[in-house]
Symmetry: C2
Subunit: 495 residues, 2 copies
Amino acid sequence: MTKLDLNFEPAEQLDLKDLNEHVLKAEYAIRGAIPTRAEQIQDQINLDPESVPFDKITTANIGNPQQLQQKPLTFSRQVVSILQYPELLKHKEILVQSRAYNSDSLDRASILLDKIGGSVGAYSSSQGVQGIRQTVANYITKRDDGEPASPNDIFMTDGATRAVTYLLSLLCRGPQNGVLIPIPQYPLYTASLTLYDTVAIPYYLDEKSGWSTDANEIESEIKKSIENNVKPSVIVVINPGNPTGSILKPEVMEDIVVLAAKYGLVILADEVYQENVFSEERKFYSFKKILRDLQKRHTKLFDNVQLASIHSTSKGVFGECGQRGGYLELIGFKKSVREEILKLASLSICAVITGQAMVDLMVNPPSEGQPSYEMDKNERLHIHNTLKQRGELLYQTFQQLEGIECQKPQGAMYLFPRLYFSQKVINAAKDADLQPDEFYCHALLESTGICVVPGTGFGQEEGTWHLRTTFLAPGTEWIQKWKSFHQEFYKKYAD
Amino acid sequence: MTKLDLNFEPAEQLDLKDLNEHVLKAEYAIRGAIPTRAEQIQDQINLDPESVPFDKITTANIGNPQQLQQKPLTFSRQVVSILQYPELLKHKEILVQSRAYNSDSLDRASILLDKIGGSVGAYSSSQGVQGIRQTVANYITKRDDGEPASPNDIFMTDGATRAVTYLLSLLCRGPQNGVLIPIPQYPLYTASLTLYDTVAIPYYLDEKSGWSTDANEIESEIKKSIENNVKPSVIVVINPGNPTGSILKPEVMEDIVVLAAKYGLVILADEVYQENVFSEERKFYSFKKILRDLQKRHTKLFDNVQLASIHSTSKGVFGECGQRGGYLELIGFKKSVREEILKLASLSICAVITGQAMVDLMVNPPSEGQPSYEMDKNERLHIHNTLKQRGELLYQTFQQLEGIECQKPQGAMYLFPRLYFSQKVINAAKDADLQPDEFYCHALLESTGICVVPGTGFGQEEGTWHLRTTFLAPGTEWIQKWKSFHQEFYKKYAD
């Protein structure tokens, strides 16, 4: 029994006022009010299916392909299952005979197990498994037409989010310091800047030019910020774009590198959608490739440019969100700065090992001639084409509707159409204490079960309204339901 | 080509002065100077095995069981391999016949797949898979002799580290705010407090009483802190202890709960070693059990106590560090506060799904009568006993040596012996710009390849010196080498 005096007045429970104010201020719309309401409705459906006018929630609010029946790639899952249970290697003959496994999956698993050091249950070095970082470096070198990459520059991370966290927590230094972010943006960026008490300096993407950037506009934001004693230190670029689905042209990317060189901005290149390219006219160029080309053409001018590029297993045709695989490539940073990033990584000890293995498998598929080659190629192609068709269909549907205007899908897995609302909608939204786009998205959810995120959550030019939808949900029925809802909504609220 | 003017002076590269000062200040000894040197030596061994006087590095600096040949539990790995490749379920007959799998692994995998929603590649809800949180709640209820636990209070996390990060980033409010931490402590805590710019208020563990705590001493630290205008808001308790390996007595834990009730401190109970109990005299009690008992005995006095308990798949007999499984149980927090923790979790979207599944398997092993029951029980027992024997042997060895004093191993996977150094050692260390315990650990590494962490990295009473070693390394040869090194070191530096 305690020897202390029990004659005391108990202290109060913690309240919001007792918490870190920056955490309280941070907002994250992807899992905000509308998705939360969608979860409630799903619970309601489970209890009483008759109580709502649809039979399921269509989660178009988040890029979560395998939740929406996208199949994982067979080869990579075969390999990782063996990493989890290496005893399977002893049963090679029977597994291959019974067609449970392809023989090259077993071979590849042996190689990966060696790289990892024998068990996915052991911590790796904080930077990640050396052999896997080598595979990533090989991939980047090939992707960038031979521009060399080094495993020493690769840091394995739990998804791309963790990479963003490491970088921003190191580079954000408080309210005298700013980070340039595109508007609209993926809200992880604004939320992180709020957490780190650092100024978000918005630069607007131009909807009419397919959500491109304008270097002169960015430069004037930089100058304005410096005049206000806020030093910009990072520029975030999401390419292909989230939520916009656009792909930047190389000349626009060059402009950004010039600004980075001139003002000493770290380029944080969020390139997680690098494989999601659906446009015939646009190709994905990495920022690294653009930077290296500029460095070759202009001696010394671009030598100090610092670039951090992130990638993940969650998107592309892989869609392995729940595996939390990702990496960060650092280019042009001083050794002392890189060591600080490594220190941050070492505080979490290491990224999940199977996620690291997934990265290896994502960037190094079976080669021609191997037993799994055709299967893997076909699976990748099928997913790619299905996504492309679905994006196209959704786009075409929006084209037919009044009050909605949408850029042609180029990449990523999103459309970000603009909505034009009548005064009646604006008034009704005001009465409901909502923004008009929030009002529309709530109504869409309650009528059809389709869950999307209002433009408000990503930022948008004042007086414009948007929403972000993924084009991952299977089938076309939900698109038809959306169409009917939209027509009725616009009829109901016609001025 | 860029349309911008290229007539500019390139900006400088970032330097340490341009980074967040709190990140720069944070220190993390577990992967600090000595482990870094050990990695260099390992590289050297790989290149030229003759260049050092031993054939390998013995990594006793970090609790990483499977790096040191501890085998994963077969049942859990069978199940998770199927989660990665559910096609295996179609081959049930042949897998069971060929003894590649036990039938209950396949059954359990089906159940878990259902809980998860069909694919480990999809994000789960940010709080974690509902069905897995239910399994965890059942485990806690059983562990605490029927004290009910609810899945709503469980948050699945990437290892225990992430849980600590969520809690401290929410509860740390800057330099007017403090967190009580034990000294010695696991350096994640001091590093996190430095990152969040919050005051670490040390309370010293008493080595002579087996590293126990003294409530009166803690209370005087609290009062001193309040006088200095630093409000303590959290008390961290690591039980079983890291680095000390001690287990707290229930009466000592009651004292801590009383202080929490009186001063409104959140108890952050780091209980990741709850299964690593090796002493016959000590039993592990959870803080929750102690709290609930106090609440029953004293109406209202303890109603406001807030407790966060963390656990992980990395330790215990599981040792699945690389899988990054863990959970957090929140008790007594207001709903509004819990929602802020959920928001932080939602910024990382979700914990890795296979890690969540590993937690389920850790806390819910096969039951009696199931095909895997005996195997699983024996594997768990074998690992437990091996660890216990090795801890005992290391302890006995230290007992025989001069200048070293060690508490009997009770729990966790560490010993934290005290070292007494001659003036000669102290002088030699000073010449090398090292603390004496660092000097000893460096010498141990260079002579034997054994990598341990000096007490300096964990904190220790002024004028005392320690080191932390795991007792995970297999075999006894390394212990013999350590013994010889120690004897020579003390002979060489005798005053």
